[in-house]
């Protein structure tokens, strides 16, 4: 307990340092929000396994470390950035190092008129309308201690604004690089994506690390999908396997909008992902797909909430996990169908493959339905690779290792196929191949 009090004091002290570093910026209206969030942080308790939402995720290892926000931009070469980009992903690149935007490393030339891709700091400083409209509107800091911590330290992160009626053909690759270099870095990118009416965009949020350092990423992304907008969001989490990763995504969908989320999770010693969408108008369509690969002593946790607040909306959620060694997985997916949300169509599924005797999954798909004319299904499975399939492949001359790799590929294939970025599809394929069989090729 003392430990937790010390940790709280640690972050409060760091907030003082942070405030002093803001200089003139502290006069902006957003600073009041920071202070309010910090006050909330001070009030709230860190979650324990007694909290229903954290029942299977013991976060106490996080409190063994004193993480500190990076004071200035860390020096990184262009070549180091290139190892995290994809040759076949042509688009815009926004690079953050230890949570701080790097203009030099980003490639944001030739943006269409009125489209903004920048650091959140710039958007705040230029009083962008979307910041005033949407910032901190969806990610409530009053209940969530990690969101309050993120909000209190709001400074940088990615900002995307697509005006009405604009289709951004090329995807936006947002690269969060941590270069901890032996220091226990606290990186808290705060992201805001506002997509106007009838507009379209593809966004990749990509978390990587230069080394195997111990650091803490605590990120929040807020997404507003305007009427009839199409937003494809892909998250690729490749943090250091010693890092802590907490990321909350809040999505608000207006009438007839279409939002897809694909969350691919590979890194982190403990990763906690919250992804929530809310239908704020009729005719919305939302997809939440995920694939998590864990090994060693990794703990992966995802909590999702799909709020069918309006009628005639469709949601599709499918998460799949492949767990090895002593790793653990937690899936908690809630679908809420409110009283007036008639003609809701909701599908939810979580499947897990356990490759070792010691890996473990806790899965809890939940439906809460208050309307009476709806179509909802949900389910969860935890199992091993199918022995009949295994025998069938072996009986055709395919060796055990290859047969196993084929079946793992097959298990993950429907999620991979649904990823809207081709280069990420083939990248995930190559990761599976490398991990499970060097020879096997799809």
């Amino acid at each position: 307990m003392d430990n937790i009090l010390n940790i709280k004091k640690w972050y409060l002290d760091n907030f003082e340092i942070f405030q002093n570093s803001l200089n003139g910026e502290s006069l902006k209206p957003i600073n009041q929000l920071r202070k309010d969030a910090m006050a909330k942080f001070s009030e709230l308790s860190f979650p324990t396994i007694k909290d229903e939402e954290w029942k299977y995720t013991n976060i106490t290892p996080l409190f063994k470390h004193s993480f500190k926000p990076a004071a200035s931009i860390s020096e990184i070469e262009n070549a180091q950035v290139d190892q995290f980009t994809f040759d076949d992903l042509k688009g815009y690149l926004a690079v953050f190092v230890n949570g701080i935007y790097s203009k030099d490393l980003s490639r944001l030339e030739n943006l269409p008129k009125e489209v903004v891709i920048s650091s959140l700091e710039d958007a705040i400083n230029s009083y962008h309308l979307a910041v005033q409209k949407y910032f901190s509107k969806y990610a409530d800091y009053k209940q969530h201690i990690f969101t309050s911590l993120n909000t209190a330290f709001t400074k940088d992160g990615a900002f995307i604004h697509i005006p009405d009626g604009k289709i951004l053909e090329d995807p936006v690759h947002i690269l969060f690089i941590t270069n901890s270099n032996g220091e226990k870095i606290l990186s808290q990118p705060r992201n805001l994506f506002s997509v106007g009416k009838n507009s379209q965009v593809k966004i990749l949020e990509h978390f990587v690390s230069i080394d195997h350092g111990i650091y803490f990423t605590n990120s929040v992304s807020e997404i507003s999908a305007g009427e009839n907008a199409v937003v494809d969001h892909v998250k690729l989490q490749e943090e250091s396997k010693n890092a802590f990763h907490i990321h909350r995504i809040e999505v608000e969908q207006e009438r007839n909008s279409n939002f897809t989320s694909h969350s691919i999770s590979l890194g982190g010693i403990i990763s906690r992902n919250d992804c929530n969408i809310r239908f704020n108008g009729e005719g919305g369509e939302g997809t939440l797909n995920g694939l998590y690969l864990t090994d060693g002593e990794q703990l992966y946790d995802t909590h999702t909430m799909i709020d069918h607040a309006k009628p005639h909306c469709t949601s599709h959620e499918h998460y799949k996990g492949i767990l090895d060694d002593k790793s653990r997985g937690v899936f908690n997916g809630k679908v809420m169908v409110r009283k007036d949300a008639q003609k809701t169509n909701a599908f939810q599924e979580n499947n897990n493959i356990i490759l070792s005797a010691e890996a473990l999954v806790n899965t809890k798909p939940q439906l809460e339905i208050f309307a009476d004319d709806v179509k909802c299904t949900h389910g969860a499975t935890i199992g091993q690779l199918d022995m009949d399939s295994m025998f069938y492949l072996k009986s055709r001359g395919i060796g055990k290792v290859t047969a196993r790799a084929i079946l793992i590929h097959a298990f993950a294939s429907d999620i991979i196929k649904s990823i809207p970025l081709k280069s990420i599809k083939s990248y995930i394929e190559s990761i599976l191949t490398e991990r499970f069989n060097k020879q096997f090729q799809q």
Partner: protein, 255 residues
């Protein structure tokens, strides 16, 4: 080619095969017939290397090798093939992908170079004709939402591509209409040669009108109780299995 000596097999402590003796020479076609539950499929599965079965006694020699000591994949690489009674559906794995991986692993085991994409495509196009398989089935997931007939034809198609020395067809005829049966039988006949052998496991004589066996064996309660030529199959068709069963109990009594 294959010699089975006094093979005893149990599953969950229950003895299914109670001393099978069978010898198959190169170029021969053997039919194993018998009523349901006689142990026909157990024999097929044990030969393919299914691990759930416990071999309590006996030996199986294949091409001079101790078959029972070999892994399922090594048996396949040595030229053994089982056409499954119930082919497994494997979502996410394309038929082509399975075959290409299988063929190249078998070639590798023989010290041959893997086929490249063009050679492989030419081979499968050629073999597909044998069983009149629709090309669209190639890119689909293995057996997934195939009809019963398509699944069985797919097994024979795999056999054609992998070109085994010894193939066991486990009730490949069951559930097929007469047209599909003819296609399957025709495919098998074209694969038959002086160099390879085939074991046809079946409940019905019907298939044997099209695949003519050199020998017919009747399996009953885990034992081969009668062996003969192709006429034995016709006799079984005429008289059913009952007279054989009586024959068997007399055999047991006289022991």
């Amino acid at each position: 080619m294959l010699e089975i000596k006094n093979l005893h097999v149990s599953i969950d402590g229950k003895e299914i095969l109670k001393g099978i003796d069978l010898k198959i020479n190169k170029g021969e076609v053997h039919a194993i017939m018998g009523p349901n539950g006689s142990g026909k499929s157990t024999l097929a599965q044990v030969l393919a290397g299914r691990e759930e079965y416990e071999i309590t006694k006996g030996e199986v020699t294949y091409e001079g090798l101790n078959l029972l000591e070999m892994s399922p994949e090594d048996r396949a690489r040595a030229g053994f093939f089982l056409a499954f009674q119930y082919p497994v559906e494997i979502p996410g794995v394309s038929n082509t992908n399975l075959l290409k991986t299988a063929l190249n692993e078998i070639r590798k085991a023989k010290g041959e170079e893997p086929l490249d994409a063009i050679e492989f495509l030419a081979l499968i196009k050629d073999k597909m004709k044998l069983v009149e398989l629709d090309q669209s089935l190639l890119s689909r997931a293995v057996n997934e939402s195939f009809s019963g007939g398509e699944k069985k034809r797919n097994e024979i198609f795999q056999m054609a591509v992998l070109n085994p020395k010894l193939a066991v067809l486990d009730e490949t005829d069951s559930g097929l209409d007469i047209d599909a049966l003819k296609i399957v039988a025709n495919g098998v006949n074209q694969l038959k040669s002086k160099e390879n052998s085939i074991i046809v496991v079946t409940h019905y004589q019907r298939l044997l009108n099209y695949i003519i066996p050199d020998y017919v064996h009747v399996l009953y309660k885990g034992r081969i109780i009668k062996s003969g030529g192709k006429d034995l199959a016709l006799e079984l068709e005429d008289r059913g299995y009952d007279w054989i069963k009586e024959h068997s109990s007399q055999l047991t009594l006289s022991k």
